[in-house]
Amino acid sequence: MTPVAECLAAFIFGTTVGVLVQRSRYCNVAALRDAMLFKTYRNTKAMLVAMMIMTLGFTAFITVGAGKPMHFDVGLNTFIGLFLFGIGMVLAGACTVSTWVKAGEGNIGAIWALMFTFVGMFLFSLLWSFVFWPPAPETMTGAPNLAGLQLGFANAATLQGKTHIPAIVFGATQTLVLFGIYRAILRRERTQVAATIDSRESTACEAWSSAPAAPGAIDRETAEQSV
């Protein structure tokens, strides 16, 4: 594929994502924050379903040597980087997708957050130019590099290469785990709905039993005395 064709494919994909995310109000921040804070899972379920489809699709093609997986060493920087990112996205109320989507809807706050994402990247580029950590992709070997706090590179393709078990088998296993989490969420939602219905019914019963009798009504004790 030529660079122009790659850019065109990326733009078409991005445009479709922009329309679908805007129409569905999907947000990665909500997928994590709402599950932790409000125990609601509208976005979490969507994220899990997408991950299941992608896991099966990617590992199926990796099995036959197709596809273009990401290739770089990972290590402590991966954990710390995403830890900082996780705090940042909850504070900003938007992740990398929703900042672009909200910016497209005219949200000045999202544009502001995006500008400071760029500023953060530039500040990090200055810091990196002094410490040279994490190692630049050109110096990565794929092997563990403890001095650089790097664990190296491993994915479904390397697993297949080492174990001679097709990558799709590992993919199917991961999909089952994700499906288990999805089922647990559905069960939790059903429990929440049942609890809400019970709570409403008991509130209604209490309201009915504690309501004052209608004017003119005779209570049972008075009626029995009069007989």
Partner: protein, 163 residues
């Protein structure tokens, strides 16, 4: 058009995106956003600083600015698609944060996201929709990191709401 009159189910939307992402994975690579944003940062810095940007090793060694970097166009596509969706559904209007605390949170959040992406080489999209489905070791490290970070962020967010 009916499509732009009602809210789409996020499960349906993300399922379509997932299938398209598998095709993108076959042609250029899985969906990612942070790399494109980094390249945009380099191109904007180049615009302001010119040749002096080359004196910063990060931009000459690790990430030389290149306008033909395909990941840039995913982000540009997303903002364009969202704009089209918002206009056609009559949901486009300028929204401005009103409180100072919101501006502070957006500024800090943006900075942390930018630093985090460059430190890890990945963002949340690559974490959930790239590395982890590829069963990359980095995906599991990144998921652990983002869950811990989101928990801390949620705690701060909760305290701010209560305050």
């Amino acid at each position: 058009m009916e499509f732009f009159k009602k809210t789409l189910s996020p499960v349906a939307a993300l399922s379509i995106i997932a299938v398209l992402d598998v095709f993108l994975f076959l042609s250029v690579g899985a969906w990612t956003v942070g790399g494109g944003e980094t390249m945009m940062t380099g191109l904007i810095a180049k615009l302001f600083m010119g040749q002096s940007l080359d004196r910063i090793p990060f931009w000459s060694v690790a990430f030389p600015p290149d306008p033909y970097y395909w990941k840039i166009y995913i982000s540009l596509g997303m903002v364009f698609g969202a704009f089209v969706g918002a206009v056609l559904s009559k949901e486009f209007y300028w929204r401005m944060p009103h409180r100072l605390s919101e501006w502070v949170m957006l500024t800090l959040g943006g900075l942390l996201m930018g630093i985090g992406i460059r430190l890890a080489f990945v963002c949340n999209v690559s974490t959930f929709f790239g590395l982890t489905p590829e069963m990359n070791l980095g995906g599991y490290l990144a998921v652990s990191g983002i869950l811990a970070g989101a928990w801390v962020g949620t705690w701060i967010y909760k305290k701010t709401l209560e305050g």
